[in-house]
């Protein structure tokens, strides 16, 4: 299963579903992480975690642990 956490900077993935629950799931949905949305891995923080991704025209930072809960469709897309 490929998740957002597997993307390298510059790679784009398409969100398939999210496995988070409760407040985190709600927050993901509110921030526009919904099925079919393309998400680009933008950069990784200096200490390796969290990561910054770009979707729907804005940048979002989340921890790797949270990025693992965002499952992507198979196949990669280069920028």
């Amino acid at each position: 299963m490929k998740t957002l956490n597997n993307l390298k900077p510059g790679e784009i993935g398409i969100v398939d579903h999210i496995t988070a629950e409760g407040a985190v799931k709600r927050h993901f949905l509110d921030m526009g992480i919904t099925k079919g949305v393309p998400v680009m891995m933008e950069r990784i923080a200096p200490f390796g975690d969290p990561v910054a991704v770009r979707l729907r025209g804005y940048s979002l930072s989340l921890r790797r642990e949270e990025a693992k809960k965002i499952v992507l469709e198979q196949g990669t897309h280069e920028k």
Binding site: H27, L29, M31, G32, A45, P46, P50, L60
Partner: protein, 673 residues
């Protein structure tokens, strides 16, 4: 004259505050939402014969009931007070902003959308057809630039005029709209606000716990509950998930994408935005840290370095050396009693002066915080530091308060306001006092200088490190006890970099300063009077002839045995620690008086050498480092935590920890040495 109450609602970083300032000018009132420490700002304007009260709701991404801000906003928009909504939408970030707009439309209240940052969008070569957007949303859309004042007049006309409810509800695909409609019909008999039924219906279908409980209280019959569940089940039958929260969010975002496709024209060759270009450097894997360190140094140095301390010293000089003698002279001339002169000059003016001497530092700190936040760099600070701080159960946003704690706990605790997550904020406030503040340094210098001579520097450094280590330990303890159930996620927007507005920054500084003087100042004032009385009167309320027979001396003598296991059981040290509650540096002056050194530091150092062993001296310093902060910080903690229970809890926690650590060091040290 017509009277209307409007709420201004928008995402964080959508330019909401700038628009609010633009609309209401300085005609604002800052209060608190009941029971929480989130600012409640209201402004008042009169426009074309209509009196408008505008409430600035906290920035939110959605009307979900999770964060404190969301709960406040949701309760307010569902209340009866409100006549209409002004929704500000960031044109440069339109997709995600419209998600909140759709939820607001479901409330059915009269509403206007202000499309902000239009100048930024045009600069990127993007064109937005506002008429088309307005047509599709069913509410008026007014393009504005709050910073340059573009179209503000037109916006005011619309707000003061006949505001209308949305023309229609959005048509979501896959049976979602039909399901909302059916659910709204079902719950209609419960007596909820009729126009807002689509909102209630959608949230119930999502399984919103808070609303289901509310329906229960309104006496929702069992049959209605069953029918609602049937509608909810039917809704997700069209999709490949059984999760209605996802079904609804998908439907709403699909709808937004459709709207945006129709009214939003992207440039043929998109340029890299300024934000993306800045972040290439500011968040670079190598350069991010030095740049970050530079800004933090600049902020710390300006606040506590020459500028801040000169202003602070100037302020206390004005009060202690000019105002106080003047008042003393006037009172003496008027033949006032000496105790009254003492109370007014030493107690009242001294106490108030203590408060005011913090003011320059608070103003400077809030200048930097305001700029950091408004430019968007504060979110990047959190991004850079998160990994280090989450190990002790905090998040990246705790970094700035913690750093400022090395200067002064009072403004540092106020800096924690920038944190959205309430548990993180409370924990940061409780841990900040462990970062050794500047006022403790004179105490270290005196005692370490007297007892450790060559190794003085090393001893002082060890105290700073110990403070951080105990802070880490305390973080673990709190995470395992008080804040057990809190899993603070870190899903944080890295907003577009923007130039902060001068007016907004000044307004913010002024409000924080006023807040500090009125709220914390009152408590500090009362406490200084009480402590002055305790210092100067005996238990029988006669004027005390020596410090030993004053109430403070008696209390100090009574509690002195408690400190014997820590190695310092003389009453003088206990009294010094008690006066340290006024200000930590007072520990030095009190000891000087009590040991009869009359302000001569060389004499005092010599005397301390006979009173303390190096070990008991170190134990005394450790206790000074860790025990409850001074009353100014204490009052600020009370104010920011929103209750005496929290403030006393934090003080008890810090003092207990101080006692245990000092005990451990003294007892283990005694065995080893």
């Amino acid at each position: 004259m017509k009277n209307k109450t409007l709420a201004i609602i928008g995402n964080p970083n959508s330019g909401k505050t700038t628009l609010f300032n633009r609309l209401t000018g300085s005609n604002q009132h800052v209060g608190n939402w009941p029971g929480v420490t989130v600012d409640r700002k209201t402004g008042h304007i009169c426009h074309r014969g209509t009196s408008l009260d505008i409430v600035d709701l906290p920035g939110i991404y959605s009307l979900s009931p999770y964060t404190q801000e969301e709960i406040i906003a949701r309760e307010y928009v569902l209340s009866e007070e409100l006549d209409g909504i002004l929704n500000i939408v960031d044109a440069a970030n339109i997709e995600r902003n419209l998600y909140l707009t759709l939820q607001l439309i479901a409330l059915g209240l009269p509403m206007v959308v202000a499309l902000g940052f239009m100048d930024d969008v045009r600069a990127q070569g993007i064109e937005i057809d506002c008429n088309k957007l307005s047509e599709q949303l069913g509410v008026p859309v007014i393009p504005i630039s709050a910073k340059r004042g573009e179209n503000i007049g037109q916006l005011l006309d619309t707000l003061a005029g006949e505001m209308r409810a949305p023309k229609r509800q959005p048509a979501y695909l896959h049976g979602v709209s039909a399901a909302i409609h059916r659910a709204a019909d079902l719950i209609a008999p419960l007596g909820l606000r009729c126009v807002s039924l689509p909102f209630y219906a959608a949230k119930l279908l999502e399984g919103d716990q808070a609303l289901w409980e509310q329906m229960e209280k309104l006496g929702m019959p069992q049959s209605m509950r069953g029918e609602l569940h049937a509608v909810a089940d039917a809704m997700h039958s069209h999709s490949n998930t059984t999760d209605n929260e996802m079904v609804l969010a998908d439907a709403m975002y699909d709808y937004i994408e459709e709207i945006v496709r129709a009214s939003y024209q992207k440039p043929r060759s998109p340029k890299l935005t300024i934000t993306e270009r800045i972040d290439r450097v500011a968040l670079h894997r190598v350069w991010a840290l030095p740049i970050f360190a530079f800004f933090m140094f600049l902020m710390f140095w300006s606040t506590f370095g020459p500028i801040g301390s000169a202003l602070g010293d100037g302020m206390s000089y004005l009060i202690q050396n000019l105002l106080s003698p003047a008042v003393r002279g006037a009172l003496t001339a008027a033949g006032a009693q000496s105790w009254l002169i003492g109370l007014l000059c030493d107690g009242v003016i001294g106490g108030v002066g203590g408060v005011l001497s913090f003011l320059p530092q608070i103003v400077i700190l809030f200048f930097f915080l305001s700029v950091l936040e408004d430019t968007g760099y504060l979110a990047r600070v959190a991004f850079i530091m998160d990994t280090l701080l989450r190990r002790i159960g905090l998040s990246g946003k705790s970094f700035v308060p913690m750093l400022m704690g090395f200067g002064c706990t009072t403004p540092a605790v106020m800096a924690a306001r920038t944190m959205e997550n309430d548990a993180d904020r409370r924990m940061t406030i409780m841990l900040t006092p462990f970062m050794s503040c500047g006022a403790k340094l004179p105490v270290y210098a005196l005692v370490a200088g007297a007892l450790f001579k060559q190794h003085q520097g090393l001893v002082i450094v060890s105290l700073y490190v110990l403070g951080i280590l105990v802070g880490v330990l305390a973080g673990f303890i709190l995470k395992k006890t008080v804040f057990r159930d809190v899993s603070s996620g870190f899903v944080l927007e890295l907003p577009t970099y923007r130039m902060p507005s001068f007016k907004g920054t000044v307004l913010n500084m002024w409000q924080k300063a006023k807040d500090f003087i009125t709220k914390a100042g009152t408590i500090i004032f009362l406490m200084s009077v009480v402590i002055w009385l305790m210092q100067n009167f005996t238990l029988t309320l006669d004027v005390a002839k020596s410090s030993a027979e004053s109430i403070l001396g008696v209390v100090g003598t009574a509690i002195a045995p408690i400190f014997s296991p820590l190695g310092f059981g003389h009453w003088q040290e206990s009294v010094a620690l008690l006066t340290g509650l006024v200000a930590k540096e007072a520990v030095v002056s009190t000891m000087s008086v009590l040991y009869g050194a009359a302000g001569d530091s060389a004499v005092l150092a010599g005397l301390l050498g006979t009173v303390f062993t190096p070990l008991s001296g170190y134990s005394f310093l450790v206790f000074t480092l860790l025990y409850m902060p001074c009353m100014s910080a204490f009052a600020t903690i009370k104010r920011e935590m929103g209750g005496w229970r929290w403030a006393f809890g934090a003080a008890a926690f810090q003092t207990t920890l101080a006692y245990l650590v000092a005990l451990l060091i003294y007892q283990v040290g005694s065995l080893l040495l």
